[in-house]
């Protein structure tokens, strides 16, 4: 089983890296981009002997306690088949 965790900056938190990427993307000639926000993506492999609900609980706590800083970031957890 594999879990996917996305960590994104909370709305309103300044993202200077996203802004820099936005400027670079514009130099490629794309117009009409109103905003780019940068986040992080994690893939977590889980052994098959663990149930999906156990895995979800474990990944939720890893996301909350390590992968995201709740002061500035949100996260989502998805269990992939």
């Amino acid at each position: 089983m594999k879990a996917a965790v996305h960590v994104t900056l909370k709305p309103g938190v300044l993202d200077p890296q996203g802004k820099a990427i936005h400027h670079s993307a514009e130099t490629l000639g794309f117009e009409g981009i109103s905003d780019i926000r940068q986040g992080k993506y994690f893939e977590i492999e889980i052994v098959d002997s663990i149930s999906e609900s156990e895995a979800r609980n474990a990944v939720e706590s890893i996301a909350r306690d390590i992968l995201a800083n709740p002061v500035i970031e949100d996260y989502t957890v998805e269990i992939l088949r």
């Binding site: 890296q17 820099a20 002061v71």
Partner: protein
């Protein structure tokens, strides 16, 4: 009196802090490897600057899980002094010993230069010996020093006098132009409610000798030294 300087894999200001405590304060000091769990016998622990765990994930995020951090939480809960500088400040925020977080500098650059600091609260254990009217010249060296917190936390910091240092201009005025990294309220350093845990982005340990451009940082270390002496008397 005894000081400890924590060493994580990737710490690189540990020797500077050690030098200041031993040479300028004349106090005994040990390096403490991050696997240590016993801090008995120490009066103050310095969490130094550097790139603990290579700044992987977020600056300070992984150091928080080192065994010594549990001991430091206990140490702080006992009212003993914990002083986080630069990466040390980031670690203390990640560990929940100080509120808020340190984000990427607003201008994206790693900034390494002297800044001027206003002492916003001169009655903390870390600032009691600083001349209250003096503007301190202390260097910064960071890419993630952009302090942020929610509105409620910010108001609480202000009301409780927990904002200890703000970036200011040479005359001591706190202005947007004197803010090097976008930090909320020009915050350069904060303490906890009990005033025994301080975190700051600027490096006072790099400003203790005139030869290095400034000795203003000595006053911060001398304050802590005097506070511990007073408590022991």
């Amino acid at each position: 009196m005894k000081f400890g300087v924590v060493v994580f894999p990737g710490s690189n200001c540990d020797h500077d802090a050690y030098h200041v405590v031993s040479k300028h304060l004349g106090q005994p000091v040990d390096f403490i490897w991050h696997k240590e769990t016993d801090l008995s016998g120490y009066d103050a622990i310095i969490v130094p600057g550097g790139f603990s765990y290579g700044d992987y994930l977020r600056a300070g995020a992984l150091a928080r899980f080192s065994p010594v951090m549990q001991a430091i939480k206990q140490f702080a809960a006992e009212g003993k002094f914990v002083f986080g500088i630069c990466n040390g400040f980031q670690i203390l925020c990640e560990a929940g010993l100080l509120p808020g977080a340190l984000m990427r500098n607003a201008g994206l650059h790693f900034i390494c230069r002297h800044v001027t600091l206003k002492v916003e609260n001169g009655s903390t254990p870390f600032t009691c010996e600083v001349d209250p009217d003096k503007v301190l010249s202390i260097p910064i060296a960071h890419a993630e020093g952009n302090y942020t917190c929610d509105d409620e936390t910010y108001h609480r910091l202000e009301e409780n006098g927990q904002i200890v240092f703000r970036y200011c201009d040479a005359d001591g005025s706190v202005t947007p132009e004197s803010n090097p990294n976008g930090a909320r309220g020009n915050i350069a350093g904060i303490c906890n409610e009990n005033r025994n845990v301080l975190g700051m982005m600027p490096h006072p340990e790099r400003a203790c000798e005139d030869l290095l451009g400034s000795s203003d940082g000595r006053e911060v270390f001398l304050s802590l030294n005097r506070t511990i002496e007073r408590l022991a008397a």
